[in-house]
């Protein structure tokens, strides 16, 4: 577990990683100029899903909490901004700011109830609280539109076009990823990982375990809310399926697929699954079967995820090289 604390596979210098990241960013920034509209939309969707799964992974992979119903925060962020834009005449910017904040507050309230317990009990408690939120949204036709959701949300002109919403998504996602990376590498993030690896010992050296977990919940909920807001920008609508349990489980799969002890793993997992769904969904209506088989193979043979596997491979190789020297 100690080795996993390195967020980036060490070996390459920081500068190399920065250059790779910047190159990637430039590719993402210019790609709408070449790609057809549909693929730009798909890229935006991948970024958003990646942002949710990365925020989920703060609690799951780095915090060691069984975040069973993360989609609730994503959905609440989306519903907040959609309701603000459709039902009130307040400035749109306020809605965009309020979305993540409401998600964060919900995460705080739910977290206060849930962090009293740990592991499976935590997950079960979050599941039941989250499903109450879901059923309320699902039933409250006059307010949330019930199972139809809200459509035709008047997103401000500047960011409502395909490329406009894409750039907005890209910028916000990159900022959020940097923020999350900083948080996880700050003393707070290190303590969080210590709690994950050994809660009892952390407690005995004076760490306030429950408080740290609660703050983690708020952070994870907040960034999921940001992703929800971005979803409304791109899609112009919300629906209750955004906070269904099935979606929460899908997010968990993405984390597992990418590797939940790595920072960028969930993003990779989201990329793989969202692209698969879009590409395979065009050919067969049974694409979930493919997903199910991938997932089963993964759990049997690659429980640390794709990125986790390569990181492990890399670390073993550099360790043996060091021995040779």
């Amino acid at each position: 577990m100690v080795e996993r604390q390195n967020l980036v596979a060490s070996g390459y210098s920081r500068l190399t990683w920065l250059a790779i990241g910047l190159g990637f960013l430039i590719i993402l920034a210019v790609s709408p100029l070449f790609l057809p509209r549909f693929f730009t939309y798909l890229l935006a969707l991948i970024l958003i899903t990646g942002l949710v799964t990365t925020s989920l992974n703060i609690a799951l992979g780095f915090g060691g909490m069984y975040q069973f119903h993360h989609a609730v925060f994503y959905g609440v962020g989306a519903y907040t901004v959609a309701l603000m834009l459709t039902k009130t005449s307040l400035p749109p910017a306020l809605g965009f700011i309020l979305g993540p904040i409401v998600s964060g507050i919900l995460a705080l309230v739910m977290g206060m109830i849930c962090v009293r317990l740990s592991k499976l009990y935590f997950g079960m408690l979050q599941l039941s609280l989250g499903s109450l939120v879901w059923v309320l949204v699902f039933r409250w036709y006059s307010f949330t539109g019930g199972d139809d959701g809200l459509h035709g949300v008047p997103v401000p002109k500047l960011i409502s076009s395909v490329s406009g919403s894409y750039y907005f998504t890209l910028i916000v996602t990159v900022i959020c990823l940097i923020l999350m990376y900083v948080i996880l590498n700050a003393p707070f993030g290190r303590i969080l990982q210590a709690i994950r690896d050994n809660p009892e010992r952390s407690e005995s050296v004076g760490v306030q375990v429950r408080l740290h977990q609660l703050v983690t919940q708020v952070i994870a909920g907040f960034f999921a809310g940001v992703a929800g807001v971005l979803f409304v920008t791109v899609e112009g609508s919300t629906f209750p399926d955004m906070m269904s349990w099935t979606l929460s489980l899908e997010f968990l799969i993405m984390c597992l697929l990418g590797g939940w002890f790595t920072f960028l793993g969930p993003m990779l997992g989201a990329t793989i699954i969202v692209s698969l769904r879009t590409l395979l969904g065009g050919y067969t209506e049974y694409w979930t079967m493919v997903l199910a088989i991938i997932l089963m193979l993964l759990i049997f043979f690659l429980p640390e995820g794709v990125l986790g596997y390569f990181e492990g491979l890399y670390r073993r190789r550099s360790a043996s090289l060091a021995e040779d020297r």
């Binding site: 069984y66 069973f68 109830i113 009293r116 317990l117 592991k119 499976l120 009990y121 997950g123 079960m124 408690l125 599941l127 039941s128 609280l129 499903s131 109450l132 059923v135 309320l136 039933r139 409250w140 036709y141 349990w245 099935t246 489980l249 968990l252 799969i253 597992l256 209506e285 049974y286 979930t288 079967m289 997903l291 199910a292 088989i293 997932l295 089963m296 759990i299 049997f300 429980p303």
Partner: protein
């Protein structure tokens, strides 16, 4: 808000009975889930899919035998057995290699199984909904306090206690029940005294899944048999198991009663939000007793 429906005593009693027959199905399904969770520690998300497969199998078997009474009774017996067979294959082929994994992995694994089952049902039975009528003796309704009450629901009211008694007998009076209770507390110790824990687990898993299939078969005549059945029931079953106490079968009974009755009484109070009531009650219970009402097995 619509309070136009005045609440009469008769209406209340009738809703109570409706709630009880719903409770029966919920109890049968969630007791199986609880059993598997308590002994094997698998949060089986695919449990709802097995319930759905039970319902579809019940439909197919009873139409195969001419959709009459005999066909129905055969189906109620054979469909859960079919589900049990499927689960036996899943346990021996897949789950038995995964017992030492984390709960999260097991949860996701069963989720994969749920997706697989969903597509399998879509391939075998198509995406149309099916409906099945109850056998002739149980068709129509009886009048209770001047209100019509479907005979089939009365049958369900009788079936619930029979299943509960059967489970009690199985857990407290048979050898496998005793071993599985011991294995729930300390599985290594049970293995150390020379009992083949692997097969005990397999049989408990099969019994739990049999109950899911039985619930599906029994519910088949009361509602449309559709693709989305798995989704609703698994959520409800998990909530019931959580408020009852993980792994406690009697907790599942208590939870099912709370869930079924608040739902049906809620229809009288506030029809539009009736489904919200059970969820709200679950949350209130968990705020005060986060580990469930009765003692969890682990």
């Amino acid at each position: 808000m619509d309070f136009s429906t005045t609440i009469t005593l008769n209406g209340l009693i009738q809703q109570f009975l409706v709630g009880l027959s719903r409770t029966t199905i919920l109890f049968i399904v969630s007791s199986g889930l609880s059993l598997v969770l308590g002994v094997l520690r698998i949060p089986n998300v695919a449990h709802g899919s097995l319930y759905m497969i039970g319902a579809f199998l019940c439909y197919s078997i009873s139409t195969l035998f001419g959709a009459g009474s005999t066909g129905f009774w055969l189906a109620v017996i054979l469909a859960p057995l079919g589900v049990a067979l499927i689960s036996l294959a899943a346990e021996r082929g897949l789950f038995c290699h995964l017992y030492d994994r984390e709960h999260l992995m097991l949860l996701l694994f069963t989720f994969a199984l749920m997706l697989l089952c969903r597509d399998a049902v879509k391939i075998i039975w198509g995406s149309n909904y099916r409906s099945l009528s109850p056998p002739e003796i149980l068709q129509g309704s009886l009048s209770i306090l001047g209100m019509p009450f479907p005979k089939y629901n009365l049958f369900l009211l009788g079936a619930g206690p029979v299943v509960a008694l059967g489970l009690w007998f199985l857990i407290h009076r048979t050898k496998i029940g005793k071993i599985s209770r011991a294995a729930a507390v300390d599985r290594d110790m049970v293995g150390a005294v020379g009992i083949n824990v692997s097969w005990v687990f397999a049989s408990v898993f099969v019994i739990g899944c049999f109950l899911a299939g039985l619930g599906g078969a029994l519910v088949a005549p009361t509602q449309n048999i559709t693709q989305g059945m798995d989704h609703t029931i698994i959520m409800e079953a998990f909530l019931i198991v959580i408020i009852g106490g993980l792994g406690n079968v009697w907790g599942a009974l208590l939870g099912a009663l709370i869930f079924g009755l608040t739902d049906s009484i809620g229809i009288l109070v506030w029809p539009q939000f009736s489904i919200v009531f059970p969820y709200a009650v679950v949350v209130i219970v968990l705020i005060f007793r986060p580990k469930g009402l009765l003692k969890a097995t682990w």
